[in-house]
């Protein structure tokens, strides 16, 4: 019996068109900088702008530190909650969802009030301090994604028994996390890291209000002043984000090598 596949395909095509048509339109528009012919002039213009590279490099650096700090905070937290305080998990789930509920604008105003140059801990008083504050803010923003990625990674391995097996052979907590737990959830951490990276690269509100030269404010600035370059930048951003997503998929294929399997 041949199943009627019309409606499933219709819905898939409708959904795909919803995403793809604006993207294709943006791409075509980005090629029309030169009158009456298609060219990559807008892209050339973007890549010839030194601010493109400086802001992108800045966001890349902040993204790297965000990932490092995030991993250092979240991996041990998830590990100990799963191992010793499983009753705390619903609370953790709730707390890690908060950054999705609280607007970034509220977060950054809170930061400025708490850590302003006239406060007790004047983070915003120096460039380095502001960069640290920005990194901390991004760790918060990435928390829902990083937490879930790490939590899922730990779910696939029997951390309780692996911990005991390492303990009885003389390993201490740091050795267990560093040599056993971390390598086994590396793929999960990397997928969390790429999500974090994608968030940091496009983030505007916090970077802008803390007046840091990040890629997000640069994108917005270009958008208000130029016509074709923003379209080109939008496409470039998409490619970068998709590249990050693609890396998650590629790494996912290696997952069976490192995760525990029971027959």
């Amino acid at each position: 019996m041949k199943a009627n596949k019309f409606w499933p395909w219709f819905i898939v095509i409708l959904g795909a068109a919803y995403f793809i048509v604006p993207l294709v339109a943006t791409f075509i528009f980005s090629l029309r900088m030169r009158r009456n012919e298609l060219s990559f002039d807008a892209y050339a213009s973007v890549f010839s702008d030194p601010k493109f590279f400086s802001t992108f490099g800045y966001s890349l650096t902040v993204g790297f530190f965000t990932i490092v700090v995030g991993v250092l905070v979240i991996v041990p937290a998830v590990y100990f909650v799963r191992l010793r305080m499983p009753w705390l998990r619903p609370f953790m789930e709730f707390v890690t969802l908060l950054p999705l509920v609280i607007p970034a604008l509220v977060l950054v105003y809170g930061y400025i009030r708490l850590y302003g140059s006239s406060s007790l801990i004047p983070f915003t008083g120096s460039v380095l301090g502001t960069d640290i504050l920005l990194t901390c803010a991004y760790v918060m923003l990435a928390l829902p994604y990083m937490y879930r990625a790490v939590d899922n990674g730990m779910r696939t391995i029997d951390i309780g028994t692996l911990t005991e097996a390492a303990q009885i052979m003389g390993a201490n907590q740091a050795q267990i996390i560093g040599q056993i737990i971390l390598p086994n959830i590396l793929v999960a951490i990397l997928s969390g890291a790429f999500l974090t990276f994608a968030i940091v690269i496009g983030e505007f509100t916090i970077a802008s209000l803390l007046a840091r030269p990040a890629f997000g404010p640069y994108l917005v600035g270009i958008g208000t002043n130029k016509a074709y370059e923003p379209a080109a930048l939008a496409i470039i951003s998409f490619v970068i984000t998709w590249g990050a997503m693609g890396m998650i998929n590629v790494l996912g294929r290696f997952a069976p090598r490192t995760s525990a399997r029971n027959e």
Binding site: D158, A166, I168, M169, G170, E263
Partner: protein, 351 residues
């Protein structure tokens, strides 16, 4: 001085006491099994010896040293888990070398020890394989090698054979025993499988509801069970309801047939009911020398088990099982046949 000593060990989880004041002492090189049904406290005792659970009260000593307050990584013990628990990110060689590396053994010595261990478990040349590339039996052998590589004082085995299929279970348990004898390592083995415990242990601790019901060598546990629970749990057991005829003469009737028993309860009264138990293999379908009781009945069921045929014989109200060897030259008995069985009165247990 005992090598492993457990004194008044108690463990409670909230109001639930799972280990109720357990005492035992074992010598160096012994293979000890903690045997019992699930929930009897055997795994909890093992986990307290390992240091994963802290006793509510009592103490544990190894080589005279009180280890009750030590962390698991300070106890110098080895352990094999039911779920293998090999480190998935490390290959076989690195898994076995893990404890050695933690202990700070130089790389060349480590390599030599890994090679030695792989030979011992019969997997030479496997050091580059990853756990996921191996069968369950191979993984568990690697787990055993990993546990004994640092030469621990005590080897703890937490139902290491439960996840394996029947054939591998038997061959691996023989291998474990051979390696244990070879190294002379004191071993505590937790199992709920009485056959496993009987076949490889020097001594068995039979646990029931957080207490030790009996502690002894396998043949003592099987032949002279101390309690009804032990008799039932270890091996198959027939229960026969009988009525006392004369307590002084130790005579009873079993479904109208008179028999003499080896002992009588102190409060025995004529006409009272008494429960007799006996192993299936002490019953014989043919007369045998020394068998002083004969009973007649009909075959209720025949179970063909290969080398052994198990018959269920109805004696009246009582139904007993008996085992007889399979004889390839004659057909097995059939259901409904009349049968005369014999037994020696000294084999009857009055529990």
């Amino acid at each position: 001085m005992a090598f492993l000593e457990v004194n008044n060990l108690v463990k409670s989880f909230g109001s639930n006491t799972v280990v109720k004041g357990v005492n035992f002492a074992f010598d160096k090189g012994e293979f000890i099994s903690l045997l019992g049904p699930s929930g009897c406290g055997k795994t909890t005792i093992l986990r307290m010896i390992a240091g994963f659970e802290h006793p509510t009260s009592g103490s544990i000593k190894v080589e005279g040293q009180d280890i009750t307050g030590l962390k698991p990584n300070q106890r110098k013990l080895g352990m094999v888990f039911q779920a293998y628990a090999l480190f998935p990110n490390l290959n076989v060689g690195d898994n076995i070398a893990f404890g050695l590396k933690i202990a700070g053994m130089p790389a060349d010595e480590r390599r030599a020890r890994v090679d030695e261990m792989l030979k011992l478990i019969g997997l030479p040349g496997f050091e580059k394989r990853y756990p996921y590339e191996m069968s369950g039996g191979q993984q568990q052998r690697v787990a055993l090698a990993r546990a004994i590589a640092p030469r621990p004082r005590l080897l703890l085995l937490d139902e290491p054979l439960s996840a394996l299929d029947a054939k591998i279970r038997v061959s691996l348990r023989e291998e474990i025993r051979a390696i244990q004898l070879d190294l002379g390592i004191t071993t505590v083995f937790v199992t709920h499988d009485q056959e496993e415990a009987l076949s490889i242990s020097d001594r068995i601790v039979v646990m029931n509801g957080g207490n030790i019901d009996q502690l002894g060598q396998p043949h003592e546990i099987y032949n002279k069970p101390a309690t009804r629970f032990v008799a039932n749990f270890v091996g198959h057991l027939n229960s026969i309801e009988a009525q006392i005829v004369d307590p002084a003469q130790k005579t009873v009737t079993i479904d109208g047939q008179t028999a003499t028993v080896p002992s009588m309860p102190a409060d025995a009264k004529p006409g009272a009911d008494i429960m007799l138990t006996l192993r299936p293999e002490v019953l014989s379908p043919t007369p045998r020398e020394g068998n002083d009781i004969t009973l007649t009945g009909t075959i209720a069921d025949v179970t063909f088990l290969g080398s052994v045929i198990r018959l269920r014989v109805a004696l009246g109200k009582n139904v007993v099982s008996l085992d007889t060897f399979n004889d390839q030259r004659t057909a097995p008995p059939t259901r409904g046949e009349a049968i005369t069985i014999s037994l020696a009165s000294k084999d009857l247990l009055v529990l």
